[in-house]
């Protein structure tokens, strides 16, 4: 590998590390297949989002400082999660004496699909994935990082994940009735507003089920964990995969 190849720090959200190692492996392998030099710093922990969204951003100074110390030296930081990336960018409290690192990390951290399309400048993936796929746009990726145009706004439509998936041979992209409605996960919302959370999840699933989606995919495992949890309780045969898993499998 060319020594000038940028060095990517792989940021794996804590729950992905613990529950979805295959998503992390797929992300790593995919980036490697695309010619990237990737390292996973072993000292990483959680970005602090659950605390901050629950109203305790002020208690995340230590967590944020740790994150900056771990990832500060990389050329890019990439994560298979729009939500955690958004948190690092928008909701880290100001960390005293690390202002420079903080602003560098803010500009160098990317969600996986936006890294591939915007930094690696790959707009088309060659590969095969003969399945009927429904895409769940996670809100933090969609409206927070603007990974796709939101249906509320009058702007030219775009979707970075779709760009990477739509050319895979055999992949049928399913258009939903409500293209970007929230699934109801919402972190602690999923337990503090349990009834609403479940209802929203059921409604979101129904949209995919009505359109005979075979595999539901998305860029955030948190939303998928919630939707899969409901589907599995229903005994639904629907399968769930992270976008990284589809891409990594498709471009063998």
């Amino acid at each position: 590998m060319n020594p000038s190849t940028p060095h990517i720090g792989l940021f794996i959200p804590c729950y992905v590390d613990q529950f979805y190692p295959n998503v992390a492996i797929a992300t790593l392998e995919l980036l490697e297949k695309l010619g990237c030099k990737v390292s996973y710093p072993l000292e990483q922990t959680c970005c602090g989002q659950p605390m901050a969204n629950a109203g305790y951003e002020r208690d995340t100074v230590g967590t944020s400082r740790h994150f900056l110390e771990v990832f500060g030296g990389f050329d890019y930081i990439v994560a298979p999660s729009g939500s955690c990336v958004l948190h690092v960018k928008e909701h880290f409290p100001p960390i005293p004496s690390m202002e420079k690192t903080q602003s560098e990390v803010h500009n160098r951290i990317f969600e996986l699909t936006e890294f591939v399309t915007d930094i690696l400048k790959i707009n088309r993936m060659e590969g095969t994935f003969p399945h009927r796929v429904g895409y769940h746009a996670s809100c933090h990726g969609q409206r927070g990082l603007r990974l796709a145009s939101s249906s509320e706004m009058h702007i030219s439509p775009f979707n970075k994940a779709k760009k990477l998936l739509e050319n895979l041979e055999g992949l049928e992209w399913v258009e939903l009735s409500r293209t970007d409605e929230c699934c109801g996960f919402g972190g602690t919302f999923s337990v503090t507003e349990e009834a609403l959370s479940i209802q929203m999840g059921k409604d979101r699933l129904e949209d995919h089920q009505e359109k005979q989606v075979e595999i539901l995919t998305g860029g955030d495992m948190s939303c998928i964990m919630h939707l899969q949890g409901i589907a599995s309780r229903q005994g639904s045969p629907m399968k769930f995969m992270h976008v990284a898993e589809i891409l990594n499998q498709a471009i063998q």
Binding site: I12, C14, V16, D17, Q18, F19, Y20, P21, N22, I25, Y40, L42, E43, T45, C46, G48, P50, M51, N53, A54, G55, Y56, E57, R58, D59, T63, H66, C139, Q142, R143, G144, S150, S151, E152, M153, H154, D180, E181, C182, G184, F185, G186, G187, F189, V191, E193, E194, A195, L196, I198, Q199, M200, G201, D203, M225, H226, Q228, G229, I230, R233
Partner: protein, 452 residues
């Protein structure tokens, strides 16, 4: 009742909850479609936002300007610090005119001030003339939505109500028939009222005029037949120039109901000869909100209700679940400023999905303010347990070793605990959802074996 309890209650009637969601989604969809027929839609949102930002940055100047011009036009201007003073001013005008019955068109401000019960206690009959508001008034309920006050009711319920109150045919649920009955009933009230109250959509500083928008024509029916028109206006309703109305009238109805403009848009500048117009400028917490820098721009709201129609929570929990005068996302950032303790669960009644901010015609960063309110609320009203568990979690994530131990403990616990415990009803996650299967290795463990 907290928001989660009220929402769970609302969702018990699954069929009605689904209907509520779909009806409001239909309104949002209409809004989406019409907004996309305007090429400059996003420019208009930017302009509206900037005009309101500017106005708030010079609010004292524009208030004086508005007052000066309104007085010049023969409008009487009153100032009210709070709801109580507002209500007293209204009653004072009524008493001077020896008036015992009034008609009132839609005004969220008078709801916020609880004007109706105050006037009724003082012997004044108040008739809300907007059809939806009249319906909820008959039921002694507040509006459940700021634009669609009776959206929580099915026509069968309204038919029953009208049968009792207006003696319509039993079982006749035809909306045209029911509306006609209300027309006849309210026309009599319009013809008798000597004082009419309206809200204000926009106050124009440079001309001293104010604008009231309706589709039914009820505001105008009231004020043009009455001798006295009282307009109740929050101080944030100001805009600098008449030409700014072009921006706001293009956005308001399209955002609210997906129609190109409301059917009646009345500009009041001077009373008819021999008649009176009073404007009451009301603070009631607005200057306090102006002083909160992070929440200041919530005062840009033009009350279109688009954030309610788009909100996946509002659509599935109904307006009453919020327990505040203004429900939905915008209500959840306004209400804590009025009473943080009472409304402490509202900023948490959100997934922070951000749809409200993208739909807002004046670009209020609603979901970011929800996040900021959470930070404020936990400072003073954090439940101890929640606060403590967050501190523990924070301690874990600060230290890689502690994180590693707790992570593998968590995984082995999930694997070995009996299902009955994980899915115990008190475990909110497991009530309606299965947990993910627990893998043998965490990614970190895999990475150490395979890459380092």
């Amino acid at each position: 009742m907290s928001h989660p309890q009220a929402a769970a209650e609302f969702l018990k009637d699954q069929a009605k909850a689904k209907w509520h969601d779909e009806t409001l989604w239909f309104v949002r969809d209409k809004r989406d479609r019409i907004s996309k027929t305007i090429p400059e839609w996003e420019d208009l949102r930017n302009l509206a936002s900037e005009i309101k930002d500017h106005t708030l940055s010079r609010l004292d100047f524009y208030l004086e300007e508005f007052e000066k011009n309104a007085l010049k036009n023969g409008i009487q201007v009153h100032w009210a610090k709070d709801a109580e003073e507002h209500n007293r001013i209204v009653l004072g005008i009524l008493q001077k005119k020896d008036c015992k019955a009034i008609v009132k068109s839609k005004s969220i401000l008078t709801e916020e001030c609880h004007l109706n019960p105050y006037l009724e206690k003082n012997g004044v009959e108040v008739v809300d003339t907007d059809l939806g508001e009249r319906i909820v008034q008959f039921l002694h309920q507040p509006p459940s939505h700021i634009v669609l006050p009776a959206i929580h009711l099915k026509k069968g319920e309204i038919s029953e109500l009208f049968h009792e109150k207006l003696h319509t045919e039993k079982g006749n649920e035809d909306p045209t028939y029911l509306t006609q009955a209300a027309r006849i009933h309210l026309r009599e009230k319009f013809l008798q009222a000597r004082v009419a109250i309206t809200g204000v959509n926009f106050g124009v500083a440079e001309t001293g005029e104010f604008v009231v928008c309706t589709n039914e024509g009820n505001a105008d029916m009231g004020v043009h037949l009455a001798h006295v028109h009282i307009a109740c206006m929050g101080i944030e309703k100001l805009i600098p120039r008449r030409s700014d109305l072009g921006v706001f009238l293009r956005l308001l109805a399209r955002s609210a109901t997906g129609q190109p403009v409301t059917n009646y848009n009345s500009h009041f500048r001077s009373p008819s000869p021999g008649k009176e117009i009073h404007v009451i400028l009301v603070d009631n917490g607005r200057t306090a909100q102006l002083a909160r820098e992070k929440f200041r721009n919530s005062l840009k709201c033009i009350r279109c209700g688009a954030c309610m129609n788009t909100c996946p929570i509002y659509r599935r929990s109904g307006g009453y679940s919020y327990g505040s005068t203004v429900p939905g996302p915008i209500g959840s950032i306004l209400s804590p400023g009025l009473d943080m303790k009472k409304h402490s669960t509202l900023p948490f009644a959100s997934t922070l999905c951000g749809s409200c901010s993208d739909v807002c015609p004046v670009k209020i960063n609603i979901h970011e303010q929800l996040y900021e309110w959470r930070q404020e609320i936990t400072k003073t009203h954090g439940e101890l347990g929640k606060s403590l568990s967050m501190k523990v979690a924070s301690g874990i994530f600060k230290s890689p070793l502690a994180y590693k131990i707790s992570g593998s403990l968590m995984r082995s616990a999930l694997k070995n605990l009996p299902k009955s415990l994980i899915y115990h009803p008190i475990n909110s996650w497991g009530k309606g959802r299965n947990l993910p299967e627990t893998p043998e290795l965490s990614f970190k463990e895999w990475y150490k074996r395979n890459r380092s």
